[in-house]
């Protein structure tokens, strides 16, 4: 769990806690800053982590106002805590991440059947991995994977270092890394990102509206998300 | 080829430089006698090969063990020196038998044969019954017998005994001395007994080297050492009084006191030795021949079995030895005013 306070709460300022999936880290940091700029009386505490850890925290009673998840399953698991409906606000696509320059000359998903390459995907217990599984299945590829990384940043890191020849990562991750090139994957599967309010307040509501607004969407697009 | 040990040991330690010449013929026991810190363990370590010489040479039965000038150094495991230590140093994780057999097994003797020989030796030191026990089960005297067997079983060329009786109580000491005496005389090679206890030296050694501060101050037989001590340390060992003064014309002045010594030739600074038994104690001025008598007071009375040692005070502090009968007959106690007297002929003087 990573907590980031984007502004110090002081007397008179209200504070809301936003739990956001790891892949939203960069985008939501900018999002929170922008929101606070136009709403100086609100302070946002950004709690970033794996979607399932965030779900666990909520189920164990953590005081979270807004939950932005990288998949629908985790949102469904906390449906009992939601105030109002959960809304899709962004989509993420998988790409084949390769080290800069594509040294292994990977061209497409079928290369994931090559045992002479070192290939990685996310563990299927996290959204990124679940998506990867569906994408590979849809393409009819029997992948020979060498590692199931527990988080997508670790996977990205190994691709950056050249220790893996290719991996299935989010488009947003490719966007964020200068040392990784991305190859498009022509598959219809995308990850739906949903946002929902857990504790009723005008500030929480305002933040969600902001995310769904044009300004919010532009921020998301800039970070590589696909917009619904 | 000269048999026996021939050595000049010069070794520099942090606080002491040891420089002695030591020669031991086969079949001879030499005692290295000295106070703690004199350098005895340095000599032991140098002979055993655990400490290289700084200078000098060690030759054993014609083999050079250590010669710094010629870059020769034989490591300890190749020297064929048998060692017995003050703390026994029996290997605690091995049985008594395995301890004794250790040296043989180390020389690649087959297990069965080593066991047989070890058992023979255990028999010889009277410890067969304990062969299966661990060293922890043994008393000091038992342990030292086993240690002796362990050292002898490998048929070493030199036997080194480093304070072998120091850790034992008085009675066990006496018993072990006999055991040692037997086995030492049965050992054909040279033997070195390192000790701070003069009784060990007097009783077991053929020749005694006295070592003080890294040097040998006297070499001689047991009688030489006892009767003609050359240093305060040796004199103290034998319990002799050691008095320093200035002699002229048959007299010796010790501070304000004058002693008639009889040696008219002595001149200048001298060291006089007076045996405790040569001093007699009287309640009043003695009649007769003793030329040296003086009034003094008793400072201390100590009983040692059938002997009593009396320490007298000013003007000439001395230790006298009398019988318990004399003590009770004269009613001697601390503070008693007495007369001490000694014949001039009993005072041995060495010019120095």
């Amino acid at each position: 769990m990573v907590l980031m306070a984007c502004g110090a709460p002081s007397a008179g300022r209200s504070e809301i806690v936003v739990s956001a999936a790891s892949s939203l880290s960069d985008a939501f940091t900018e999002m929170a800053e922008a929101f606070e700029a136009s709403n100086p009386d609100v302070a946002i505490t950004l709690n970033v982590g794996g979607s399932s850890s965030l779900r666990e925290q909520i189920l164990e009673g953590a005081a979270v106002d807004v939950f932005a998840s990288a998949d629908s399953r985790n949102i469904e698991d906390v449906s009992g805590e939601l105030v109002g409906p959960a809304r899709v606000f962004a989509r993420n696509v998988l790409q084949i991440g390769v080290p800069s320059g594509n040294p292994a000359h990977v061209v497409g998903l079928e290369d994931f059947e090559r045992s002479d390459l070192l290939l990685g995907v996310c563990a299927n217990s996290i959204p990124c991995g679940d998506l990867a599984e569906r994408v590979l299945a849809a393409a009819g590829v029997e992948a020979v994977v060498d590692t199931y990384e527990p988080n997508v940043r670790a996977l990205l890191g190994k691709i950056e270092a050249g220790e893996l020849d290719a991996g299935l990562v989010y488009a947003t991750d490719v966007e964020s890394s200068a040392a990784v090139d991305g190859l498009s994957v022509n598959v219809a599967h995308v990850s739906d990102y949903l946002i929902a309010m857990l504790d009723e307040s005008s500030e929480a509501s305002a933040f969600i509206d902001f995310v769904l607004s044009d300004t919010g969407r532009q921020i998301l697009e800039r970070h590589g998300f696909v917009l619904p | 080829m000269t048999m026996g040990l021939s050595s000049r040991i010069i070794t520099e330690r942090a606080t002491l430089v040891v420089d002695i010449a030591l020669t031991i013929d086969p079949g001879m026991t030499v005692a290295l006698l000295g106070p703690n810190g004199a350098g005895k363990s340095t000599v032991h370590a140098s002979l055993a090969g655990l400490l290289p010489l700084t200078d000098g040479r060690i030759v054993l039965n014609g083999r050079v063990l250590d010669d710094p000038d010629h870059d020769v150094f034989l490591p300890a495991d190749q020297r064929r020196v048998g060692a017995v230590f003050q703390d026994y140093l029996l290997f605690p994780h091995l049985s008594v038998l395995e301890n004794v057999a250790f040296g043989l097994r180390a020389r690649k003797e087959p297990k069965e044969r080593a066991r047989i020989v070890a058992e023979e030796w255990l028999e010889r030191v009277g410890m067969s019954e304990m062969s299966a026990r661990r060293p922890g089960d043994l008393s000091g005297g038992q342990a030292q017998r086993v240690a002796l067997a362990r050292a002898l079983v490998t048929q070493p060329e030199l036997l080194l005994l480093d304070e072998p009786l120091a850790a034992l109580d008085v009675r066990t000491k006496a018993e072990l001395r006999r055991v040692l005496a037997d086995h030492l005389s049965g050992f054909a090679g040279p033997r070195l007994l390192i000790t701070h206890d003069p009784a060990d030296a007097f009783l077991l050694a053929d020749e005694i080297y006295v070592i003080e501060d890294g040097s040998v101050t006297q070499i001689g037989s047991s009688e030489d050492i006892r009767m003609r001590p050359r240093s305060a340390y040796v004199a103290d060992l034998a319990g002799v009084n050691h008095v320093v003064g200035s002699a002229t014309n048959g007299d010796m002045s010790v501070g304000d006191h004058m002693l008639r010594i009889g040696d008219t030739a002595a001149l200048g600074p001298v060291v006089a030795t007076i045996h405790p038994r040569a001093i007699s104690i009287h309640l009043s001025r003695p009649e007769g021949s003793p030329r040296n008598s003086w009034r003094t007071t008793i400072e201390r009375v100590e009983h040692y079995g059938d002997r009593v040692r009396i320490e007298t005070g000013a003007p000439l502090p001395l230790t006298a030895e009398v019988t318990p009968a004399a003590v009770s007959a004269l009613g001697l106690t601390v503070g008693s005013p007495v007369w001490a007297s000694i014949k001039a002929t009993e005072i041995t003087v060495q010019v120095g």
């Binding site: - | 048998g82 605690p92 250790f102």
Partner: protein, 264 residues
Amino acid sequence: MSERGQTRLPRAIYVAGAAGLAIVAVPMIGLLVRTPWSDLGGLLASDVVVDALRLSLLSSIAATLVAAIVGIPLAIVLARTDFPGRSLVRGLVLLPLVLPPVVGGAALLFALGRRGVVGGPIADLTGLVLPFSTLGVVLAATFVSLPFMVLTVEGSLRNLDRRYEGAATSLGATPWTVLRRVTLPMVLPSLISGFVLTWARALGEFGATITFAGNLPGKTQTLPLAVYVALEQDRDAAVAISLVLVAISLIVLVSLRDRWWRAL
């Protein structure tokens, strides 16, 4: 045993000690409370768990053996030889103790990975790729557990009365014989506890393993990795696997006799 004659300790000592015990015991109790006892059998029989268990035992034992083969000689040299830079060498050897395991794993990757300083040439010459292999798991585990072996053995060698070795030498034993028949047997209790501590550390290793060797069931997914991955999705499975780890560790540690602990 009667209470008469027991050492009397100040009451505060017991209280503090109880607090110390609680810090360890309470999370274990939490684990036991959450255990899905009825499903346990099925969970434990699953492929994931069986693979992870086999891999964990294999790699931890292998790592312990490697640590012993290189660590014991290293400990002997450190304890018995004086050379310039000895403190530095000892510091280096103990470094993995204080280094965060993930940092250790990253360092292993930089050094022994396919693009690594040493690993690169090895891969080019022999085709051997260390990351993402079971050998990589053993390496990562050895890296973090070696200090335990060296620390334990060096400590006990230092405390050993050197005169026994002198006695052995004077009896004609070569350095190798002295080591084999006197030195090592006399520090046997600490050797045993060294082995156990090393193995326990190797078994529990996570950060270096996942960073260097990756995570692949059957090849590199040890029990700790399996727990981590299962936590994301199937909490029951995670708890079950954790129980296996706790059970194995407890059995070994409890069976260690008191006198072997004394040698630490």
